[in-house]
Symmetry: D2
Subunit: 451 residues, 4 copies
Amino acid sequence: MTADETLFSTPEMANAFSADAHVSAILEFEAALARAEAAAGVIPLEAATAVSAACRVELYDVPALTRAIPAAGAITIPLVKALTAQVAPEGRGYVHWGATSQDAIDTALMLQARSGLALLIDRLLAVADACATLSERHRHTSMPGRTLLQQALPITFGLKAARWLALVTRQVWELRRLQRNGLALQFGGAVGTLASLGDAGIRVTELLADELELSVPELPWHTERDRLSAIAAGVGIVAASMAKIASDVALLTQTEIGEVSEAVEEGKGGSSTLPHKRNPVDVTFARASAQLALGSVSLLLTGMAHEHERAAGAWQAEWTALPQLFRTTDFAVERVRSAVVGLNVYSERMHANLELTDGLLMAESLSMALAARIGRQDAYRIVQLACERAREQQTSLLTTALAEEAITTRLTADEISGALDPASYLGSTDAFIDRALAGYRELRAPVEMAW
Amino acid sequence: MTADETLFSTPEMANAFSADAHVSAILEFEAALARAEAAAGVIPLEAATAVSAACRVELYDVPALTRAIPAAGAITIPLVKALTAQVAPEGRGYVHWGATSQDAIDTALMLQARSGLALLIDRLLAVADACATLSERHRHTSMPGRTLLQQALPITFGLKAARWLALVTRQVWELRRLQRNGLALQFGGAVGTLASLGDAGIRVTELLADELELSVPELPWHTERDRLSAIAAGVGIVAASMAKIASDVALLTQTEIGEVSEAVEEGKGGSSTLPHKRNPVDVTFARASAQLALGSVSLLLTGMAHEHERAAGAWQAEWTALPQLFRTTDFAVERVRSAVVGLNVYSERMHANLELTDGLLMAESLSMALAARIGRQDAYRIVQLACERAREQQTSLLTTALAEEAITTRLTADEISGALDPASYLGSTDAFIDRALAGYRELRAPVEMAW
Amino acid sequence: MTADETLFSTPEMANAFSADAHVSAILEFEAALARAEAAAGVIPLEAATAVSAACRVELYDVPALTRAIPAAGAITIPLVKALTAQVAPEGRGYVHWGATSQDAIDTALMLQARSGLALLIDRLLAVADACATLSERHRHTSMPGRTLLQQALPITFGLKAARWLALVTRQVWELRRLQRNGLALQFGGAVGTLASLGDAGIRVTELLADELELSVPELPWHTERDRLSAIAAGVGIVAASMAKIASDVALLTQTEIGEVSEAVEEGKGGSSTLPHKRNPVDVTFARASAQLALGSVSLLLTGMAHEHERAAGAWQAEWTALPQLFRTTDFAVERVRSAVVGLNVYSERMHANLELTDGLLMAESLSMALAARIGRQDAYRIVQLACERAREQQTSLLTTALAEEAITTRLTADEISGALDPASYLGSTDAFIDRALAGYRELRAPVEMAW
Amino acid sequence: MTADETLFSTPEMANAFSADAHVSAILEFEAALARAEAAAGVIPLEAATAVSAACRVELYDVPALTRAIPAAGAITIPLVKALTAQVAPEGRGYVHWGATSQDAIDTALMLQARSGLALLIDRLLAVADACATLSERHRHTSMPGRTLLQQALPITFGLKAARWLALVTRQVWELRRLQRNGLALQFGGAVGTLASLGDAGIRVTELLADELELSVPELPWHTERDRLSAIAAGVGIVAASMAKIASDVALLTQTEIGEVSEAVEEGKGGSSTLPHKRNPVDVTFARASAQLALGSVSLLLTGMAHEHERAAGAWQAEWTALPQLFRTTDFAVERVRSAVVGLNVYSERMHANLELTDGLLMAESLSMALAARIGRQDAYRIVQLACERAREQQTSLLTTALAEEAITTRLTADEISGALDPASYLGSTDAFIDRALAGYRELRAPVEMAW
C-alpha cells in the first residue's frame, strides 16, 4: 500500500475503481456478451449459461492478474485464460467470442464510470442541500463582496451560497446528461469490424448494449476517445467547481476575516506544534484533491490521439488516469460537503467587516445616487475624490461626503446617509437567491420530471 | 508582430479574436445595455441612442487601449472613459450604467465565442464532407487494421474514414449544443447584485440578454466559470479529435507504409536540403496546433477557482487562454480539412501491405473458422503455433496451415484458403460505414429538423 | 494584432522573440555557418563573405516569410530561397551549405533563449534588489505568520521578504547555470549525420559553435529535446516563483489584512464602477502571466517524444510555446518587480493584526515555556485547553493563562506574560535574514568571482 | 488495492514511496532531530536516546495513521502522538521538539527522493549500458533516417542508439547533480523562525542536516518550492526521455518497417483474440507511464504558489504527486531498459528499407555532388526535377540521373552511382558514435573522478 493513493479518495469511489471492481466489470461484459451472442444465435445457449456462471470475481486471483499486466499487455489476456479454465466444458470454447481486450476493458471502464457518476451525483446533491440551507438562512446576512481580494460592495452570505448552489446544480444536471448520453458500449473486435461475428455484428452489439444498459454507438470507438474525454471534462469541471467553493471558504476562514469556520471536531484540524490552531482541513484537502483531478483531465485530453485501431501508450495511460480522476474528484466533493454542512457562519463578524472601511465600501452607492443628478462620469470623479480625502484624513466617507459641496448641493444629508447604508444597496440579491433555490427545487424534483 | 502568434491561426479566427473584435464586442455590450436600460425605463431613451451611436470600434485607438491594460487592470477602464468622451451630452452620464468591467468583458468573450463556434462548425462540416466522400469511395478498399502499430486484421479505408466522420459528426453536434445552451450573458454589476439598478436588475438582465441573443443565466456567474470551462472542453475535444485524424494520416504517409499522401502543391512540404522530400505538412501543423490548444484547455480548467466575487489572476489569464484555444483549434481543423480534402489514397499499396505478412494478418480468421469446430481456446493455440512455424520457416500461413494436421482434419483446403482471404473477413464494416453516413446526413440536414 | 498577445509580455521580451528577431537569429546562423565552413576550407572565403553580407534582416519581408510557413513547413524554406537571391553570385551556390531547417531554427531559438535569459536575469536582479531592501528595512517589523491561512506565530516582514529574496537569488543562479551550460548549437544536417560535409563535420561544428558562442554538443540533438526542456523548466520555475511572491502580496493587500499595498499611481488599479477601488493590479497580472507560462512548460515537456530524426508536430509546437514561455515569464517578473519596488508596508497594521487573537497566536510560545518544565505533550494539552477557554470566554490568552493553575504552578506571571510577547519569540529570524542577504551580496558580486 | 496504482511502478520504487517508507522517513527525521538537539544542548541526551529508540516504523499502525490524515490534516499529527506514547518517560517530553509537521514531512520527502534518485540512476545506467552495446554493435548497420516520418537520408542504427545513449547519459548527470545539490533539509518550526529553539536554531539545523546527510538551506523553504520543482522537472525530463526512446522503438517495430522487435518471451505481448500478434508491450507501457509522470510534473510546477507560511491545498497535493512522479518514471525507465536490453535488430530489413525509394533517399547526396560544380541552389532544383521524373516513371533515381543531361554533363556515371550509395554518405556518423561512447565511459568511470 502506498500512503498517497488511499488518501485522496472516498471509500466508495475507491471501491468503484478497485482492481476487484474492474475485473468484476470485465466479467460482467463477458457474461453479457455470451448471453447476447446466444440470443443472436451465434453461440449455443448452454455455452452462454456456462460462461455466465464463471463470471464471478471471487473465482479469480485479482492481484495476480494485475501483476501480469505489464508482460501480457492487458489484464484481459490472463483473465480470459483464467475464465476459460473456470468455464464448464460446454461453454469453454465460446469465452470472449468475437471480442477483443479493448472491448472488455473500455466497456468495463464505462460501467465503472456509471457507478462513479452516480456516486458523484449523490454527493453533489448533499452539497446542494447544504448550500440551499445556507442560502435561505443567510439570505439577509450582509457581508462584504470582494473583487481582486478588496472589499467592493455589500452582498449577503445567502447570495454567495446561492452562487455555489447554482454552480453545483448545473454540475448535477451535467453529470445526469452524461449518465444518459455519455455512456456507450465499446464492441468492435480486434480492429473494429466485428469480423469474427460475420453478419451478426450489429445484432449482437444491440443485444449486448441492452444487457449492459449502455447506449449503442454508431460505430466502435476504440481509438476515438471523445466520449471518454467528455466524461473526463465533465467530472473535472465538478472538481474545479469544488475548488472554487473550497477556496472561498478557505479565504473566509482567514483569521483577519473570520466570517466562517469549519465545524470543530475532536482531533480535526489541529497542529503538531501550535496548541491554538484550528485549520480548515476540509477545504484544504478539497483544493488539493481538485488539483490532482484536473491533472488527470489534462492527461486524458492530451492523450486523445490514439494510433490507428489501438493505441500504444495513450490507451494504457487511461487505465489509471480515469480512476484517479473519479477518486480525487469524489474526495474533493466529500470534503466540500463536510465543510459546508457544518459551516459556522459568523454574521456579527461579517457585519464588523462591512464597517471596516468606514463607508468606502459604499462608494458606488453614493456615486450612483449622485449620478442620477449629474451623470455617471462626473459623479464617479467626485466620489473618487471624496474617497481619497476620507483615506487621507482617516475619517468616514459619510463625514467627507457631508463636507463636500459638490455632493451636498445635489443630495440631502438623508440621501447621503441612506446611500451609505449597506442594507439599502443589495439590488437583485433576493431575486437571485430565489432563482437559485427554484433551480435547486427542480433538481431535487423526481428525476423523471426533470428530464 | 511575433512570428508564432499569427502562425497557429486561420485568418478568420484571428479576426474573431483580434483586439478590434474584442473592443467591438464590448461596445456591442455597452450599446445593448443602454438600449435595455432605456426599455426598462432606467435611463432616458435619448441617452441610449447617444450611447449606441458612439459604440463603433473605428472611433477608438485599440492599440492604445490594449497597452493601457496592465496599469488600468482591464481594457474597460480606459475604454469606458474614451466611450464617455465620444457620447453626445444627453447620453454621457449613462454610459456603462450599472455594469462592471467583468460584465462587459465576459459577455464580449461570449459573443466572440459565438463567432468562434460558428467558424469551427463550418470548418468541421467541411472536414465531415471530405470524410464522407472518402468513406463512400473507399468502402471496399481493403487495408491492414493496426493495433499497437502492428498489423492486426483487415479493415477498409472507408471504415477508417467513417470513424473519422463519426468523430467529427459528434463534435459538430456538441458545438451546436454549446451554441444553443452554453452561451450566457454575464451581468451582475460590481459584485453580482446589480445593486445600482435597484429592483430593475432582473428586468434589465432579460432585455439585455434578448438584445444580445444570449441566454439568461439564473445568476451572474462572474466567479463560477463552469460555462466557460465547458466551452473550453468542447473546443479542446475538437482539437484533440483533429490530432487523432492527423496522426492517423501522418502514420499512413510513412515511406514504408505509403498508403496515403497529402496533395502535392507547388512549394508545399519540401525540405531545405532534401530535393526528394514531400513532407505531410498539413497534418504536422494540425498536430502541433492541437497540442497548443490542449494546453489552453488545461489552463482554463485548472484556473477555475476564482476568488470571491472577482479573481485576481485567474480571470485575467482567460483573456489570452480562450482566444488562443479558438485560434489554435481552428487552425488544426483547417489543416485537417486541407489534408483530407486533397488526400491521395493508394489502394494498390494498401493491398500490397495486406500481403506483407504472408497471411499472418488473417490468423484470427483461421482461428475462428477452427473455433467453430473445436472451441475458441484450442483453435487459438493451434493457429498460434502455425503462425510461429510460418515465421520460422518464412513461409505463408496458408502453406503452414495446409501442412498442419490439427487444422486439416477440421477444415478443408477451401475453407482454409477462404479463411485466409482478407476480403472475406470484414464483418460489419459495410454496416458501420452506412451508420456513419446516416449520421452525417442527419448532421447535414436542415438545422431546424436536426435540433 | 490580437489583444491578448501583446498583453502578457514586456516590450523587451516581445522584441527578443519577435518574428524579426527570429529571422535575424536564423540569418546569424547562416552567416556564421558560411564563415565556419570557409575557415574549415569547405567553401570559398569569398562565398562566405557574400553570404554574410546578405544576412541582414532588413533585406527580407518577414511577414511574408511567416505567412508562408504552413505550406512550406518551416520558415527556412522561403527564407533560404530569399537569402540565396540576395547573395552575390560568388556566394549564391553556398548558402545553407550542409545544414537543414532544424539546424537553423533550433540554433536560432537557442540564440533567442540567450537573449531571453539575460533579460530575465536583469529583471530578477531588480526584484532581488527590492526584496533585499525590504528585508533590511523590515527586519524587525513584526507581523503574523500564517499557516493554512490562519495566524500561527509571529514573523517579521523582513523575514518574509528574505524568503522571497532567497527564492529569487536561487533562480538567478539557476538561469546563470543555464546560460553557461544549457545553450548548445544544433547542427546535424538533414538526419544528424552531417553527411554533406564529408569528414569536415566535427571541425565545422566546432568553428560554428565558436562563432555563435554556443557550446558544442556531443551529438546533434534534433530529436532529443532535454536541453530545451531544461531551459523551459528553469524559466517556468522562475514564473512559478513570481506566482508565489505575487500571491503573498495579493493576500496581504486584502482589505481585512491591509498590511501592504501596491504603489498608487494615476490611473492604476481603479474600477470601472467603484470609485474607492485600488486593485493590486501588478500582482494580479503577475499571477495570470505565471499561470500562462506554466502552461507552456507543460506543453514543452509533454511534447518531448520527437519521432525518429525530426518530429511531425511536436517540434513545430515549440516554435510558439518557447517564445510564449519567455514572454509571459518576463511579464510576470516585471509585474512583481513593479509591485515590490513600490510596495507600501503598513507596520502599524501588522502590529494590530498581531493583537487580533488576543494572544492565541502566542500559544506555542507559552506551550514551549511550559514544556521546559513538564515536557512537550503535557504542555501542549494544557495550553490547548487554555486556548479553548479563552475563545469561549472571549478573553485574552494571558488572562486565561494567569487563571490556570496547571500553568501558574509552573510559570511565574512574568514568565507567562514574557512568553506571550510576540517580539520575544522570533527565534532565528535575524540570522535567517542575514543569510539571505549574504546570498544576495554574493549574487550581486562581480560575476567572474561568483562562477 | 486499486488496479491502476500498482501497475505503473516498479516494486523498488513502490517500496521507496510506500506509506511505510514515508512513516519511516518521518521517524528518521524525528530521531535525528532529537540527536541534533541533544548535541546542541537543547534537550537532554537521554531524551534523545529514548526518542531514537522509538523511531522504528514497525511500532506503528501505518494504515491507521494514513486513514487519520483527512481529519487531522497531516500524518504527523497522529504519528507524533503515537510516537510520544512509545517513547520512554525520560524522552516523552521532547518528541518533535521545535519542529512542525511540514519540517518532518518535507524532509521525509527529501529522504525518499534521495532513494528515488538513486533507483532511477541505477536503472538509467542499465539503459545506458544497453544503448552503448547497441551503438557499438550497429555502428555500421545502415538504415533510413526519417524526418516528419518520411525517409530522408541514411543513418546507422548505431547512431540512433548513440543519440539515445547521449540522452540517457545527460539524464544521469542531471540526476547526480540533483542528488548532490538538490536535496535540502526543511527545518523552520511552525512559521519558519525556529522560534521555540531560541538562538539555537541555526546550530540545530546544521547538526540535523549533518545527521541526515542533507544540505543546509540558507533559509527554511516551507513555501518556496523551487527545490522540489527542480527535482520534479529533472525526473520528468527523464520520463520524457524514455518516451522519446520508446516512441522510436515503437515506430521501428511497425509491421511495415520491422527493423526491430522486442524480445519474445512466453506470454509477453500477445492478443486476446489474434493468434499471430506480438505487441511491443514494453515500449507501450513506457510511453503510458511517461505520460502519467509528466502529468505529475505539471501538477507540481503549477502548484508552486504556496500561501504565506504554509499552503492550504498545494502542499497536500504534493504528497501524492511527487510519489506518483517517481513511481511512473521508474516504471518507464524499467520498461525501456527491458526493451533495449533484449532488442532484436533486423539489419537486413533496414537494408531493404533503404532500397525502398529506389534511390530517392539519396537525393541530397547527388545534389551536393552536383553543388560542388554548380552551386547549391541550381543543383537542388535539377535533382528535385530528377526525383519528380523518377517518381512519375517509376524508375530509380540512378536511371533518371544517368538520363539527365544537366547532371551527366557535370558528373561521371561513376560519380553519380557513387553519390547514390548509402554507405558512402554517412558523414560524421562514426565520430558522433565515438563521442557518445566517450561520454558513456566517463559516466561509468568511478564517480569521484567524474564529479
